[in-house]
Amino acid sequence: MPLRSNNPAGQDTDTCFHCALPVPTGCDLKVDFEGERRPVCCPGCKAVAELIRDSGMSRYYALRDTPDPGVGRPAEETVEWRVFDSDDMLRAFTEKNAEALEATIYVGGMYCGACSWLIETTLTKLPGVDTAEVSPVTHRLRVRWRLGQAKFSEILGTLASLGYQPQPLSPESTTRPELIEQRTALKRLLVASLGMMQVMMFAVGLYAGDFQGIDQEMQRFLRLVSFVVTTPVVFYAARPFFAAAWRGVVARKPGMDLPVSIAVGSAYAASVYATFTNGAAVWFDSVTMFVFFLTLGRFLEMRARHRSIDRSAALSSLLPNTATRLVGEEASIVPVSQLLAGDRMLIRPGEAIPADGTIESGDTTVDEALLTGEAAPQRKSPGDLVAAGSVNLDGLIRVCVLRTGSDTTLGTISRLSERARYTRPAFVTLADHVASYIVIALLAVATVVATFWYFTAPERAFVVTLSVLVVTCPCALALATPAAFAAAGSRLSQLRLLVTNGNAIEALSRATTVMFDKTGTLTRGLPRITSVMVLNASMTEHDCRRIAAALETASAHPLARAFAMNVTLPEVTSQHVEVGQGVSGSIEGRHWRLGAAAFVGGGAAGTDSQSSAATNVFLGVDGEVVAWFNIEDELRPNVVQTLDSLRGMGLRIALLSGDNRTAVEHLAARLGITEFDFECTPQRKLEIIEAAQRDGERVLMVGDGINDAPVLAGADTSIAPAQGALLAQTTADIIMLGNSLEPLVTAVRMSGKTMRIVRQNLAWAIVYNALALPLAAAGLVPPWLAAIGMSASSLIVVLNALRLSRFN
């Protein structure tokens, strides 16, 4: 029977069944799955799909969300998990609990609820494993196993064999402040919502009493119980608003919390006074409702923020878990947390560098793309500095540790971005201003009306004041903005855009310039062969690619990935990697070289490698160049359409990159971008953004990569693709899930629509109040009509906001 396939029809033939990457041409790997032969892209995916099928977990493929291409693809390098069984490692990464061990593992490569099901079911089937729980949101696995009956390495190895990239977290990095924040926020939300419901019930009684008559004693009683219920709502649920308002006053930067606090505080105080002095009216219902809607808005916003993974995990997941420490010439594997300044460590080709240090011996090239945005590998020799988080590509080096943990360059960049975020001017929205000040104005007007009627017709003063208060209940105004933002936020998350900052939608709607980062944002950061020029008539393109693929099997260089093929490769003997130059080896008795022109065979005729941004790699045999490959970083899907749509909306497009001139010029020309800058440091990018802001531009920065984190925070608003460095996610206002850039257009359109709805809502609320207030103040609106008018106006505002949840 047909699987409830997540692969759109027609794509089955060319995307990998497991990881959804396109199946390379010439690859004919297949997996037998429920009677059908499904294509897969690589032996790794084939092994994972077969493992999942054979262990009875086939339903995983029916239940999962459509994966982003490549997310579930197993890592190519194999990790030696057995080192994690040593006492040192267990002490560093697990907590001992009676006869059981517990560990928290960050699971890279998981993307939906079905992944957590697959992981939990597979792990609990291992003998000795008691519990395994995965959160699909934080990607954390909490696993508990009995000492001696299961091994840590077995658990990690199982995760790896399912195609995930496990990353044990040390216990201290798992104490999560956001969990405490969420618990408190939930409690406050519950107090506010239950309080609101109760007070509303009493309010119905009080309003009915005003209309039909009520015992003085019963009225006092209902007011008193309303007071009892409202008190915790004001002093517990609304406490963050008072605290934030006070901080604003102390810092002389009053925010929107101040008018909110004054409104809540004064309405509460006046109601309490009225309760104990038998005053004209109480408005405990308005107070609790106002607090509830504000708390709900804050809660939804907090949830969205927490979806981006917290900073400590982001930092540690960029660093390897273990380092090879050298004592004399004896190497031992230790957890990175045990490295100290002055230690010597050994770093093999392909390994990430765990701490900042200077090279003592060995030549290599390192990939610093994460730190500097520079895509080309950097040469390093003894005496040079290497930074934590960069990847050692092709040489064995010995490094003396200078700085570890948060003192490293990586840690500093992360602190810098936090500061940039902190100093960003608080953006006070117009909507909040209007809503909050109108609340205060209404209370003042009600007082004036009460005073006026008290002196002209004291017997009607009470009813008229009541009508004024009810008819102009701030609910519609208070709801206008949060309801629209909440609806927009939840719709955006369905459209795979996570909003992490409450101001993002409004800031986005005002953006006039979009600045893009290059590597990993416009491009995917995955090199690909775009053209092959064969210079020797006796060879075909396919031959050249096969030979190149075979030679590159020895290299960990990022460009090597471009050559990978899933066909039977010729056997290579005496394979050798020449650092920074290329690879060589013998195939069928001939000596082949692949790499830079000079390395392969001197001046390759007719190819000027400076004229193109793409990297040229040459293939030569016995000193003669036979072919050259043009390798480019692949563009993200739909980049051209996305840029066209953005231009169509009247946005200026600019490109800022840390990459070299030719690469940036080439890409800008290809995409029709006229404004660009190259070889930008993070400071330079920030300067460009600030200059644009001084010219009155509102900048939307789209970027990933750690070096962009301060830049993202400095722009008016920022969007990061989720597959970039995790740290960038934490400073971006909006996180874009998935591979395509198209959600960017949706986000900009959605923000405009949201702001239109907010303005409509505010306009409606103001018009309604402007009409109803004079009528009520003149004594023309009885309280029951006022109650209907108030409910209807709130309902209209909410329904209008809900239109956003159908936005496409």
Partner: protein, 55 residues
Amino acid sequence: MSILYVLIPLALLLLGVAVWAFFWAVGSGQFDDLDTPPVRIIMDDDKKPDDGDPL
């Protein structure tokens, strides 16, 4: 109507119990993960590897 003087305090008492129970549940971690439980309910083990596709 004087029954209200008994029923309303009773309702408030129940409200207090409900709030206490919820605070306890939050404190014991039952609400820490608000995202997994809704998907977990629709997933269970395939009993046998080859018992056909139940979907």
